[in-house]
Symmetry: C2
Subunit: 413 residues, 2 copies
């Protein structure tokens, strides 16, 4: 733990220097990262091969191997994201509002960095690069702790990033913690003096552990048990397209749909055709009794299925009696990520919007749009599903805090 | 704990109803509180007398008795705050921004309530009323837990509030937890399923305990070790007025100054006259060696004094070699509340503003202005000194979260 504490201290000290760095230096550091990632790609690839081989040896699932795997084009795309973050507007030192108080003071609300941020994530090397770049741009120093399955890749990437930035900003703005036991994680989560924020990125288990054990403030991201409700009045063709898209276009991501709710008056007409198309795409259906009575090949869902984020080609289905039932179901099972209603009924669309308080509430569109890029926020550090600080896609702006600067002329109370 | 859990469950359930209530119903409930507080003032006063008698018996300090004490005019002023909260703009359902995404979706960022908020505070009955009113107006239900010294007063107030609102919104929007042991507090701090936010209001000990032990997200408020630095170039007359005001106008509040830093080149000239005026106001001075060599009657400060929020007529003083020394001192000892520089040097004012990241950074004005009313935010729930969610004076806006409402026409990715 001594070693981790030293890393934390160095990272915190670096954040005090980084907060005074110019935009130009931050952008030079980012461009230098993009350059060096491409230049040193062989180093990254040979480290990555070690991780992939270990993964295969340990029977890692193909979908996880795919997330871990790097090649030239993926490295180029990482470098591209870093360059586009360099091009983004600087989020620090912006005056969000400015006004005179009744006492005549000029008060300005000015964005500042959060300080030192810990990112706890799984075996996805691209998170290493994205998180480092977003934190540099927002003048935050960062402690990274990724899944042990990606350790070789992550260390190669962090070494390159540190080497790249050293000419412009302190190398210690980016540090990596290699120890992978839960004890080390718990130690990190207790360091309120050195960390201002922890962002866990990954599966529900990791996020629950971090949120339930951290003394450092946490922003919970990404667990998405996303629902789509097909109202009686829906355009069924539109509904079918949206569901196929939300379930199958990229089933492993947090904004993919997990549960379909269908109004009882259209279930007989709607489910057979939809069911066939989903089956053609290898989607397993787990339905309520009514669903199974319409789609004989569907499995019977249990209570647990309605709570699950499958992240897979599995869809829970329930036939509901009314929009109120659909809303009550969502309110019970939601993880507060993204939910959609497909409807042509104006009043129902309004009721759905006002009753559902998830981060993103859709009318007649796919839940897959909950994304920093799609929202126009640029690169994102995650999708917040909590109520404090930030909600939905978190871009650079959401990695800032603010202070009030007050200019007076001798005013007293 | 069973009973506390039941209260939490009822309060959470009430919050789901409250979030759908109209502005009008919320305002009717608030006006009804104001009416009933005045009508039932005898009940409040007789409960308060019990608390005051207990306090006297237990040798409570006069300043604490004063915070606890209620009379007709204080009750009228409580009712007045509630009415003015009713008059404020409704913070819920506001569209903060609205834009078309590149896919053609109309995305709106809309304010929503946080949910259920726990307020943990000390023996100040006015907090009971203020917190209840602010939470109702922002459609949040609230669990109150005040200091045991004010139990009778608080229960009387909460009963009146619940009776007053019942016709318009659920009584369970407001609940009070009477159990006063640390075990009960720890239990509350672990209820992530029922509480969305905890706001501790009170002394440094309470806030540290809550922030260090809560699994529910916390907003830290109020501990203010506020500094004023008098630069070499300062208008010494202005500096003196500001210091007298910031230290003595109301020494028991969080935005009162606690430490004075003086540039060495003006110390000999500035400190004798200031010291005399402070002594006339019964301010005890605890200074560095240099200070004590100038003001023979001052006590020698120890390291601890520079960390302390005295909340009393005591001032720590240090003579510094340069503005850089002053900034370094503040960065080391600050609680991130409010700091001021008194200067006529433009460059130094800029350096101070960019180097200090406390919630409120002043040039040539008293730190006493860090206040929701003075900032024009209306009533406040506290002054946040942390970096996440809200900083500085927290008004109604800071008691909200937001969701994205997305209107489409069949869009898929």
């Amino acid at each position: 733990m001594e070693e981790i504490l030293n890393i934390l201290k160095r990272t915190k000290y670096a954040s005090s220097i980084l907060s005074g760095e110019s935009k130009d230096n931050k952008n030079l550091a980012l461009r230098s990262i993009a350059d060096l990632l491409v230049k040193e790609k062989d180093k990254i690839l040979s480290a990555n091969i070690l991780d992939i081989e270990n993964g295969r040896k340990n029977n890692m699932k193909d979908s996880l191997i795919d997330r871990l795997y790097l090649d030239s084009s993926r490295i180029k795309s990482m470098a591209g994201s870093v360059l586009s973050i360099a091009e983004d507007n600087d989020p620090i030192g912006n005056v969000e509002k400015s006004f005179y108080s009744k006492a005549g003071l000029l008060i300005s609300k000015v964005t500042i960095p959060i300080g030192t941020i810990g990112i706890i994530y799984e075996a996805r090397p691209n998170v290493t690069v994205d998180a480092a770049a977003l934190c540099i741009k927002s003048s935050n120093s960062v402690i990274l702790k990724g899944g042990k399955e990606a350790l070789n890749s992550n260390l190669a990437l962090v070494n390159i990033i540190r080497e790249a930035i050293g000419k412009y900003i302190p190398e210690d703005c980016i540090n990596y913690i290699s120890t992978s036991d839960r004890e080390a994680l718990s130690f990190i989560l207790s360091q309120r003096d050195y960390l201002d924020l922890i962002i866990p990125r990954g599966g529900a288990g990791l996020i629950k552990f971090v949120a339930g054990n951290s003394k450092v403030p946490v922003i919970e991201t990404g667990v998405g048990n996303c629902h789509i409700y097909v109202d009686e009045s829906a355009d069924l063709n539109m509904a079918e397209n949206i569901i196929i898209n939300a379930k199958t276009q990229r089933p492993g991501v947090c904004n993919a749909m997990e549960t379909l709710l269908v109004h009882k008056n259209i279930a007989d007409k709607f489910l057979p055709s939809l069911g066939k198309k989903l089956s053609d795409k290898n989607v397993e259906i787990r339905g309520c009794e009514k669903t199974v009575s319409i789609l004989k090949y569907a499995k019977l869902a249990d209570e647990e299925d309605y709570y699950k984020e499958f992240l897979d080609l599995i869809l829970a289905v329930k036939v509901v009696d009314s929009i109120e039932d659909a809303i009550a179901h969502i309110q019970k099972y939601t993880t507060n990520h993204s939910e959609a209603i497909i409807t042509n009924d104006y009043k129902n669309s309004k009721l759905f919007i006002s009753s559902i308080n998830s981060s993103a509430v859709y009318v007649n569109a796919s839940t897959r749009f909950t994304d920093g890029g799609e929202f126009g926020f640029g690169a994102e550090i995650g999708i917040s599903t909590q109520k404090l600080h930030a909600r939905g896609p978190m871009g650079l702006k959401e990695l800032t805090s603010y202070k009030y600067v007050i200019l007076g002329n001798g005013e007293i109370r």
